[in-house]
Symmetry: C2
Subunit: 212 residues, 2 copies
């Protein structure tokens, strides 16, 4: 006889309730007013249960965001970054899904709370970048590497730079609300990143050929 | 006889002391722990003097950032956005200056504090964007419009999109610390935005010609 299965089910149930409560609460009261006490009360657990697993509210929220981010990916039905062979189409699909995610209040509130906290807290920012952001950026880089190998990207393209040319403007417009965050915007962004916006050979339907 | 000149000099002196104190303090204690009381004490004025002019610490910090941002521009010796006729060179010069500004602790601390506060406060964000950000973006757009008129930019280029393709990746890397924020990075960004990163006609010295 062992108690492990029951105990482990109870733990998983508590863990899930704590993460869900943290996400709901941060959307309602914001990061600054979020407390471990309030998360515990909402989740129906004791404060000590939370402190046993996480050192701070930031750590709870980071894990909650990781879980949510995993769900968003699963929701699309993709098992990984799409690779149909058409780089522009794949990038547009992923950026559209990201726009949808950033516009969903369930994601937006914790994402803004974490971004705000990380902006002025280098330690939290480093954890956030390493655990949440880098794995996502690595997926872009892998897809771009395949495109580069297939000759669809400049041979000396800096994959991190190209990745940031895609996610940077999207994140900027989302965070600073400088203009509406739409699918039309991210579609145009992908086309402009690939074709360039400089004079001849720009985005107005003029074909490009290569000469030496 | 009038007391106006003296009184107005005193007011300007107090105003300047308050803005300087707010900038210094936010760098030392962060936005969350910044208080009107502490700003007043450091500036050598009463709390009521601050509340007469500003409704909140966020409003003080916004005005302080506006003043600082004006100084940064003046420091470069430019009277406006540079226009030498060479679009790539002008954009590189401005982005390099922005990298320097973002790396200067005097600017960085208040900029991070305002970005963090604005991320979760839509009202503050709207003021921040309207008063601090939009005037800067408008300078980019004006320079890009001149380039478009001169045929150096695609005829149908979306000037706001191109502006965000430049400042977006820079702001992203600064805020999230995903990689070093260097002049080499912004130089490569400008070249990639103008030429595009897609296959043929990319950034590896291959000439581009236009065909119909």
């Amino acid at each position: 006889m062992t108690k492990a299965p029951d105990s482990s089910r109870r733990s998983e149930h508590s863990r899930r309730a704590i993460l869900d409560s943290a996400l709901a609460l941060v959307g309602e009261v914001g990061y600054n007013k979020l407390t471990i006490e309030a998360i515990a009360a909402r989740a129906g657990v004791g404060k000590q249960t939370i402190y046993r697993w996480w050192p701070s509210k930031a750590a709870v929220l980071l894990d909650a965001s990781l879980a949510l981010s995993g769900e968003a990916w699963t929701d699309t039905g993709w098992s990984g970054f799409p690779d149909t062979g058409d780089l522009a189409a794949d990038l547009k699909a992923v950026l559209r899904a990201t726009v949808d995610e950033f516009s969903d209040p369930r994601y937006e509130a914790p994402a803004r709370a974490l971004t705000a906290a990380g902006a002025t807290d280098p330690d939290l920012s480093a954890r956030f970048t390493e655990q949440l952001l880098e794995p996502q950026l690595a997926l872009y880089e892998a897809r771009l590497r395949a495109a580069r190998d297939a000759g669809q990207l400049a041979a000396d393209a800096d994959l991190r730079l190209v990745t940031e040319m895609l996610v940077g403007p999207l994140t900027y417009r989302w965070l600073l609300r400088t203009a509406p965050l739409t699918h039309a915007f991210t579609d145009a962004l992908v086309d402009s990143v690939l074709a360039g916006v400089g004079g001849a050979g720009g985005a107005d339907g003029v074909a490009k050929v290569t000469v030496r």
